[in-house]
């Protein structure tokens, strides 16, 4: 289940701590740790790993994993930038990589130490977001589309415009994410994501503000709960989140809109100055093992970039077009374009305004 997104404690910590206090605190925390115990601090999306993976790693290597989750990548970025967290390995979306590098938060991974790297499908290596394959190792991939409750909609959604349908007023959830919402609005307006024209952002804002009276909540964390509980009929959603929740509510389903959706690859990265580098690399290598990668894919219903794992993945998952869309659909999917710093300001201010106005 999704984790609660914000805690008062987090906000106080971010808002009131001096930026300079961060490194100091992490040093203190490091000193307090017993030197004998080997640990890796792993920061991942919520509902994004199998139950067996981490205990299996500890059993195989004797290294303990401190596992923390986030439901919101921007919040994760804010936490990393405030510097007080002491994580070793994080999972970040392709889109976030340039910003993590630009903010000097991630370090090159010694790829030669990853014996299982060759298990990966080569099309996920040397990608535009990491052309030299130095900073990231693909973990899972998935799509952004529409999750819905079959009992609460007249017919299954086929278009992004179904999220603008007046009939579902107050029962639509949108991801609290500038990338997904503005990206979709630009797509519907026929504008490329690479635009830096303020007029395009103004038009995207208008479109989202037109939808706002229908929106129940902008949330990346609780939309699955809302779908399961029948509070929401439709939600902009990440594929696996909805498919995992089918266990709790069999009426849930997921669709990719005909206009095309977004796909993304979540990658494992090592933080700059990670206190446990060697064990971090061991963890990444372990997660690339075919049996482990297949176990994760079976548990979370996101697609695995691990070619060697393919035979071990549950055929029902492998054949599920919502997990592994057919080639014709994939052709219609696109990656988000990471904005440069100036465009990034436009994206964020537009999103801040959509929520505030």
């Amino acid at each position: 289940m999704a984790e609660p997104r914000v805690s008062r404690r987090d906000f106080l910590r971010l808002g009131l701590l001096l930026p300079a206090a961060g490194p100091l605190l992490s040093t203190l925390a490091a000193c307090a740790k017993k030197p004998a115990e080997r640990v890796v601090n792993f920061f991942n999306w919520s509902s994004y790993i199998s139950k067996e993976a981490l205990p299996g790693f500890t059993a195989a290597t004797g290294v303990k994993v401190n596992y923390d989750v986030f439901a919101d990548e921007e919040e994760m970025f804010a936490k990393l930038r405030s510097g007080a967290m002491g994580y070793d390995v994080i999972v970040a979306t392709d889109y976030l990589l340039p910003r993590l590098r630009g903010s000097n938060l991630i370090a090159p991974i010694p790829m030669e130490d990853l014996k299982n790297l060759s298990n990966l499908d080569p099309k996920f290596l040397h990608t535009p977001y990491d052309p030299e394959q130095r900073f990231s190792v693909p973990y899972l991939w998935g799509t952004t589309g529409i999750g819905f409750n079959k009992k609460l909609v007249a017919k299954a959604p086929t278009s992004w415009w179904d999220l603008w349908d007046e009939r579902y007023k107050g029962r639509i959830c949108m991801l609290d994410s500038p990338r997904e919402c503005i990206g979709t609005a630009l797509l519907l307006k026929g504008q490329p994501e690479t635009t830096t024209d303020e007029k395009d952002f103004e038009a995207a804002k208008e479109l989202l503000l037109k939808q706002k009276p229908l929106v129940k909540q902008y949330t990346s964390a609780t939309y699955v709960d809302a779908l399961v509980a029948g509070e929401a009929a439709l939600a902009m959603a990440y594929s696996g989140d909805v498919l995992q929740a089918v266990k709790e509510n069999p009426h849930l389903d997921y669709a990719l809109p005909k206009e095309g959706g977004y796909m993304w690859v979540d990658c494992m990265c090592v933080l700059r100055g990670a206190p446990h580098l060697a064990d971090s690399v061991a963890l990444i290598d372990y997660l690339l093992r075919p049996d482990v990668a297949a176990g994760i894919c079976n548990a979370v219903h996101y697609a695995s970039p691990n070619a060697a794992a393919q035979p071990r993945i549950d055929p029902a998952v492998l054949k599920d077009k919502r997990v592994y869309p057919p080639a014709a659909v994939v052709k219609n999917l696109r990656y988000h374009t990471p904005p440069d710093p100036e465009a990034y300001v436009l994206w964020n201010q537009t999103w801040s305004d959509v929520k505030a106005l």
Binding site: P4, R5, V6, S7, R8, D10, F11, L14, G15, L16, L17, L18, P19, D72, E74, E75, F77, A78, R81, R99, G102, S103, G170, D176, P178, K212, P213, V215, K216, Q217, Y218, T222, A229, G230, E231, P341, Y344, V345, N348, Q349, W351, S352, D353, K355, A356, L357
Partner: protein, 302 residues
Amino acid sequence: MEPDLVRRQGALDRGLSWLIRGQRPSASHILLAPATLWLLAFLILPVASLLSLGFTHRGPYGAFEWVFTWDNFRRALDLKYLPILIRTVCYSGATTALCLVLGYPLAYFLSFQAGKRRDLYLALLMIPFWTSWLVAIYSWIIILGREGLLNGLLRALGLPPIAFLGTSFSVILGLVYFYLPFMVLPLYASLEKIPRSYVEAAHDLGAGNVEAFLKVTLPLSLPGVLAGCILTFIPCMGDFLCADFLGSPRTYLVGNLIQNQFLMAQDWQFGSALTSLLLVFLITGLYARHRFEEQGLFEESE
């Protein structure tokens, strides 16, 4: 209030005199040192850094660049944010009023009627306050939801379900739930201080229950009313959890706008400017109250 303030200023003066005039440290310096250091390290410095951040330029991806600019304040003073401020003031005002209406009789009961059971009742008042906010908020979601307990009751009675969640009602309900103790405790403290002999004297002089309450108890409890209102109103102005979890996109408050700058937009500079303006707004309010008090609005209560 006044002599208290003078006393505090005197203490501060003495505390600094050691540094300024080279006097030998005395007991008061040693006693004051931990609190002074604490305040300096965990209040003054962070607030100062937050305030100064509001005057700086936003670097790439929100990095700190210590270059002076007014831009953040110019953006923060944009009229498009006025509706959010008005909404926040309305919600906080409504919460404060509701807390007062609910809290005064409660505090009165605790102070005058509860007798031996008072400690038990006070504990009952505090227990919800000790639970985690998130647990409490999720409990309210379970109660108020479309398929929740309250709607289950309505359905059992043959009534149509009502959308409680995502409305001003649910947000204010959450705020009242959380901030009621902030109202009740100062009220209780001030009612508790009223010498019972004053009320008896009023009765002896022929006042009925109502008259004695209106002429003696109520005026004497006004400082508590004021303290309770301030203690409720101010944290309400910065609350964002209730609006986030119990509200909808249409119940967006100043707290949400500020939170968004820090966690989502990576625009701490703008968030700092908004925070500074909220602080100025609240401090102006407190100062105005102080001036009113000086002019003797509450003279009869002193």
